[in-house]
C-alpha cells in the first residue's frame, strides 16, 4: 500500500501511534473508502499524477494519509478547487473526496455545476447520513425520523426530505458514470472498490466526469456499534438510497488540452497591437479650443452611437501623439436609456478625465441638450442634431451654437446608424479639433476588418464636415 504514507507526519507530527493510525473513529466507513481509493490509485499507476482534494468534514485530513498531491479545500468547494487543478495541469488526475454536508448541503451549487460541466474529474461522495466532524447534526441525507443533535425529535418534512444525490447527478448531461455503493459487507466492499476503480480509470482515460456515492457507517454519531451501523445502513439507508449504477455512458476519450501559448507575435495580435508609427497630420495641439486640455461631452440615448463617436475622437487624438481619455456613462438599460461620454484631449497629460464643464457638447437629443447646455464653458461650442431638436431655447449666452441635421444626413445615406460619424464630421468641421485626414485614418484603422463599411463612413463623415459651421476666423 505505497499510496499511504509510511508515516503520517501530518497527523500530530506523526508522534506515537498517530504516525500509523488514522484520526477516524473505530469502524468508520471513511477508512474503508480510503483503503479502496489508495489501492485503486496504486493499481492504475497514477500515484504521481493524482491530486486529492479534501474539503471540510471528517475527511478534511485525508492529506495525512495519501502520498499524492494534496489540497485541502473550504467547506463545499472541492469541485471548484478540482476544476482549478484540472485546468492548470490537464494531465493530473483530480479526485474530490467529500462528505454529505460538504457535497449535498453547502456545496450543492458547485456539485451540480461541476458535474454538468463534465470535465474528467472523479468525485467520491461519502454519505453516512449525518454530520461527523461537527458532532452529529442533521445532514441533507439524514433519513426521515432520524434523530440527530439538530433534529432531536427526528427528521420531519419541515427539515426537508433526504436528498438522493446519485440520482440527481445521474440525470445531468455532464457525468458519464454514476454509481452508488455500500461498505456494509464483504460483497458490497468488493463492488465499491470496483466502482471506484472504474470511476478513476475513466478519468485517467480522459472520458469524463465520474461520481461514486458511498453509503458509509458513522458508528459514533449514529450511537451504534460498527456492526449495528453496518446493519443500519443495509436496512434503513439502502431502501432510501438504492445501490447500483445510475448512469454509465460509453464515451470516447476526448480530454486533450494543449499547453498554453506564450508566443510574442500571437500575444501582440490578440492585443490588437500594430507595428509602425501612425502618420501624424496635426501641426500642433488645437489650443484655439481652450488651452492644452480640451473636454468634450457626447450626450444621447443608447443607440445614438455617442460612445463610439467619443472613442473614435479619443483614438484619433492618441494617434496624433496627444493624451486622451474617454469615460462612458449609461443608464441601467441594456438598450435605449441615456448614454453620455466624456472625452478629454490633452497636449501632454489628461489630469481630470471627467467633463463636468466641457469645452464642446455634442447633443443627440433635446433632453441631452437641455441637461448639459448650461454646463458648457463660456466660449465653448454646442453642436446639436437639428433633425430631432427643432426647438432650441434657454441656451446660455456666450456659447457657439452649431445646428447640424445629424439624423437627416444619416437618413439620406439610408443608414441612420452612421449619425454618430456624421456628428464627428460636424465636430471636425465646426471646431477643427484635429485634421480631417486624421479622422479618416482612424476610421480606416478601426474598420480594417470590415472594409466594406468604410465608404459609407467616409461619406457620412464628409457630410458632417460639409454641414458644419466652421470656426469663426
Amino acid at each position: 500500500m505505497s499510496v499511504f504514507y509510511k508515516r503520517f507526519e501530518r497527523h500530530s507530527h506523526g508522534e506515537g501511534l498517530k504516525g500509523q493510525s488514522t484520526h477516524y473513529c473505530a469502524g468508520c466507513g471513511h477508512g474503508l473508502a480510503h483503503r479502496d481509493l489508495a489501492e485503486v490509485i496504486e493499481s492504475l499507476g497514477i500515484q504521481d499524477r493524482t491530486i486529492l482534494v479534501s474539503p471540510v468534514g471528517c475527511s478534511v485530513f485525508a492529506y495525512y494519509y495519501f502520498d499524492v498531491g494534496n489540497t485541502q479545500a473550504a467547506h463545499g468547494r472541492a469541485p471548484a478547487v478540482a476544476i482549478g487543478h484540472k485546468l492548470a495541469n490537464p494531465d493530473s488526475i483530480v479526485i474530490s473526496y467529500q462528505g454529505d454536508g460538504d457535497l449535498a448541503s453547502i456545496g450543492l451549487a458547485e456539485t451540480i455545476s461541476t458535474a454538468q460541466m463534465g470535465l474528467p474529474l472523479t468525485v467520491i461522495f461519502i454519505n453516512n447520513a449525518i454530520y461527523g466532524m461537527t458532532g452529529g447534526q442533521l445532514a441533507p441525507t439524514s433519513l426521515m425520523g432520524q434523530k440527530t443533535s439538530t433534529s432531536p425529535d427526528g427528521r420531519s418534512t419541515f427539515m426537508g426530505q433526504p436528498l438522493r444525490v446519485a440520482e440527481l447527478i445521474a440525470q445531468l448531461d455532464g457525468p458519464i458514470y454514476v454509481e452508488r455503493v455500500a461498505l456494509y459487507d464483504a460483497k458490497q466492499r468488493i463492488k465499491a472498490k470496483k466502482a471506484i476503480e472504474k470511476a478513476v480509470r475513466l478519468q485517467k482515460e480522459g472520458r469524463g466526469y465520474t461520481f461514486i456515492e458511498v453509503l458509509a457507517e458513522c458508528p459514533t454519531h449514529l450511537k451504534m456499534s460498527p456492526d449495528q451501523a453496518e446493519k443500519w445502513v443495509k436496512e434503513h439507508m439502502e431502501p432510501i438510497y438504492p445501490l447500483g449504477v445510475k448512469k454509465d455512458l460509453t464515451v470516447e476519450p476526448w480530454w486533450d488540452r494543449k499547453a498554453p501559448s506564450f508566443e510574442a507575435d500571437k500575444l501582440l495580435a490578440i492585443m490588437g497591437a500594430a507595428n509602425g508609427a501612425p502618420k501624424r497630420y496635426s501641426t500642433g495641439f488645437p489650443t484655439h479650443l481652450g488651452g492644452t486640455d480640451i473636454s468634450f461631452k457626447f450626450a444621447g440615448s443608447g443607440g445614438d452611437g455617442a460612445q463610439t463617436a467619443a472613442l473614435l475622437l479619443a483614438r484619433a487624438a492618441i494617434s496624433e501623439g496627444f493624451d486622451a481619455t474617454h469615460i462612458p456613462s449609461y443608464g441601467p438599460e441594456s438598450r435605449g436609456g441615456t448614454s453620455y461620454a466624456d472625452v478629454h484631449i490633452a497636449e501632454t497629460e489628461v489630469l481630470n478625465p471627467s467633463a463636468a464643464h466641457p469645452d464642446v457638447l455634442i447633443a443627440f437629443n433635446a433632453p441631452s441638450l437641455a441637461k448639459f447646455a448650461a454646463t458648457v464653458k463660456e466660449g465653448g461650442t454646442i453642436i446639436y442634431d437639428s433633425t430631432v431638436i427643432t426647438e432650441v431655447k434657454n441656451m446660455p449666452p456666450n456659447r457657439r451654437l452649431v445646428a447640424v441635421p445629424l439624423t437627416g444626413l444619416a437618413m439620406a445615406l439610408e443608414r441612420p446608424m452612421v449619425k454618430n460619424v456624421v456628428a464627428l464630421g460636424a465636430l471636425q468641421g465646426s471646431t477643427g479639433v484635429l485634421p480631417v485626414e486624421r479622422f479618416l485614418d482612424t476610421l480606416r484603422t478601426v474598420l480594417k476588418d470590415k472594409p466594406q463599411l468604410l465608404p459609407l463612413n467616409e461619406t457620412a463623415f464628409a457630410e458632417g464636415v460639409r454641414h458644419a459651421t466652421p470656426v469663426p476666423a
Partner: protein, 475 residues
C-alpha cells in the same frame, strides 16, 4: 502469475493499530478472527485476536479493516513476532515519509515583446492585457457590472492562447477555482465588483492561509447591498482591513489610469508569487470603463512552476495546499510567519505618486479616478496662488507612509478626496498614528452612492479652508 490460495498472504495485525471496531470478524468466512479479551496498554482498546489455522488468505478481513496499518498482508510485515522492527528505524522515523523527490523551483522566463504603437484601451481591458503579459492563462469569474468587460475579453482571447476562462456558478466557486489553479502553481485571476468581492472573501482568507497566489481585480461600485453600478471606493475597508476571517493582509493597489491598470496588474502577479499571497487591485467603476492610452512593456512572462505547487506529477507529489494547523503552537507559528511576510510587504512594497508636493502647503490625498480630479484641482488651486499638491497612494495597503512622512513638514492641511465615507482617510489616519508623526488637520471631500468628487468641489473645499486674497471663486 495467478495467485493461488496457498501463495496468498495471510493477514497479520499490529495490535496497536487495531481500534477494536470488529468489522473484520463478520468479513472472515473462516471465523479466524475473534473479539479479544485484553485491553492493549498502549491504546486502551481491545484489539481483535487472529487464529489463522484455517485462514486461506482470502483477504476479505483486510478489506474490512478501516485502518491503513491495521490488518495487513503478512508480506508487508514491518515488525517481527517479538515486536522488533524489521526495517531500519531511520527509514521509519526519518524526515521523509514519502519516496517522492524534493521539488525545485522552475523560474519564470521573461521574453522580449516587439515594440508596437500605443493601444487605446479601457481600464478593464488594460488590466486583462496586463494579466496576459504576466503569464496568466487561467481566469475564473462571474459576470458583474462594471467589471464584466475584463472577463468577456478573457473569454474571447484565452481559448486562442490555449488558456481557460471559466464562468463559475458563483463568485464563491470562482475564488475556489483560483485556489485550485493557484495551488497548482499557475498565475490566475478574477474580475469582480464589490458584491462579488464580498462573496469571495472566505476564499481569499483560505488563499492567504494556504499561501497561494492569485490576483483579484475589483472594480468598485456603489453600495452597500446591491447599491448601483456607479463608481465608488467603499471597498478600501474590505481590501485593507477585512479580507475574510483571521489574520489576513494583501497588497492592495489603486491604479488611476488605464496604463496603471496594465502595469499594476502585471506587478500584482509578480508580487503575488513573490509573497505567495493574493494581491488585490481596486479600480473604481469609472476607471474600469475609462479608455486611455496604454503602452505595452518590452517583455512578457512565461511562468515557471514554483517548488511548492501541487501540480500533479512526481516532482510535486509531496506537496500540500492547506490552511489547517490543528495545534495551537503550530498555528501561532504560522501566524508569525504570515506577520513576517506582511512586515516585508510594509517595508518593501509601499508605492505612491507625488504631484507638486515639494512645496505643497495644502496636500490633497486621493487615489483611483478621484486622484485625477484632485490633480486637476491642484492645477486650478496653483493658478489661484494656493500651493497645493497631490499625494496619491498607489498601494493602499501597505499605505505609503514613508513617502508621506517626507512631505508632511511643509504641509498645513491635508484634504482627503474620496468616493467613500472616509475609508481612505481611515487608512491615512491609521498609518500616521502608527508612524507616530505629528500631522496637520485633516479635512475631506467625500461623495457617495456612485458619484465621484468633482474638481470644482475639491477647489471649493480648499478655498473655504484658506480663502485666497483675490476672492476669485470658481463657477
Amino acid at each position: 502469475m495467478a495467485i493461488s490460495a496457498s501463495t496468498r498472504p495471510k493477514p497479520y495485525l499490529e495490535a496497536e493499530y487495531c481500534k477494536g471496531c470488529l468489522r473484520c470478524i463478520d468479513a472472515c468466512p473462516k471465523d479466524c478472527i475473534a473479539q479479544g479479551t485484553e485491553i492493549n496498554p498502549a491504546t486502551g482498546v481491545v484489539p481483535v485476536v487472529l487464529d489463522l489455522a484455517t485462514c486461506n488468505g482470502c483477504g476479505l478481513c483486510i478489506q474490512a479493516c478501516p485502518e491503513p496499518y491495521g490488518l495487513r498482508p503478512e508480506n508487508e510485515r514491518t515488525v517481527d513476532a517479538a515486536g522488533f522492527e524489521l526495517e531500519d528505524p531511520a527509514a521509519l522515523f526519518g524526515p521523509r515519509d514519502t519516496t517522492a523527490p524534493v521539488p525545485v523551483d522552475i523560474p519564470d522566463r521573461h521574453l522580449p515583446l516587439p515594440a508596437s504603437e500605443p493601444l487605446v484601451l479601457k481600464g478593464t481591458y488594460a488590466s486583462a492585457l496586463g494579466a496576459l503579459l504576466a503569464g496568466c492563462r487561467h481566469v475564473f469569474g462571474y459576470p458583474i457590472t462594471p467589471s464584466t468587460e475584463g472577463a468577456e475579453l478573457m473569454a474571447k482571447v484565452l481559448p486562442k492562447l490555449d488558456g481557460a476562462f471559466v464562468q463559475a456558478v458563483s463568485e464563491v466557486a470562482a475564488v475556489n477555482m483560483m485556489y485550485g489553479c493557484g495551488g497548482a502553481g499557475l498565475p490566475c485571476m478574477t474580475f469582480t465588483s464589490s458584491p462579488g468581492f464580498s462573496l469571495m472573501l472566505e476564499g481569499v482568507s483560505y488563499m492567504i492561509g494556504a499561501e497561494l497566489p492569485g490576483v483579484f481585480v475589483n472594480i468598485m461600485r456603489g453600495g452597500p447591498g446591491l447599491g448601483n453600478i456607479g463608481p465608488e471606493q467603499a471597498d478600501i475597508k474590505l481590501a485593507c482591513r477585512g479580507l475574510g476571517h483571521g489574520n489576513t493582509q494583501a497588497i492592495t493597489f489603486a491604479p488611476s489610469t488605464p496604463q496603471e491598470m496594465l502595469d499594476l496588474t502585471r506587478l500584482s502577479f509578480e508580487l503575488s508569487f513573490k509573497y505567495r499571497n493574493p494581491v488585490v487591485l481596486l479600480g473604481d467603476g469609472y476607471l474600469g470603463q475609462m479608455t486611455g492610452v496604454v503602452r505595452l512593456p518590452s517583455t512578457f512572462t512565461k511562468p515557471g512552476l514554483p517548488a511548492w505547487a501541487v501540480w500533479g506529477d512526481r516532482d510535486h507529489r509531496r506537496n500540500l495546499v492547506s490552511s489547517i494547523h490543528l495545534s495551537e503552537p503550530d498555528l501561532e507559528q504560522h501566524n508569525l510567519h504570515l506577520l513576517g511576510k506582511y512586515g516585508a510587504m510594509i517595508r518593501d512594497e509601499q508605492r505612491s505618486d507625488l504631484y507638486r508636493c515639494d512645496d505643497a502647503e495644502i496636500l490633497l490625498v486621493a487615489c483611483n479616478t478621484p486622484a485625477r480630479m484632485a490633480k486637476g484641482a491642484v492645477e486650478d488651486l496653483r493658478r489661484k496662488g494656493i500651493k497645493a499638491g497631490l499625494f496619491r497612494p498607489i498601494t493602499l495597503w501597505p499605505f505609503p507612509i514613508d513617502a508621506l512622512k517626507a512631505v508632511l513638514p511643509g504641509v498645513s492641511r491635508i484634504v482627503v478626496v474620496e468616493a467613500s465615507p472616509g475609508q481612505l482617510e481611515d487608512e491615512l489616519r491609521l498609518a500616521l498614528d502608527r508612524a507616530d508623526v505629528a500631522r496637520p488637520p485633516i479635512d475631506h471631500v467625500q461623495r457617495y452612492g456612485g458619484i465621484l468628487p468633482q474638481q470644482f468641489e475639491i477647489v471649493d473645499k480648499v478655498l473655504s479652508l484658506c480663502p485666497v486674497q483675490s476672492g476669485e471663486v470658481m463657477a
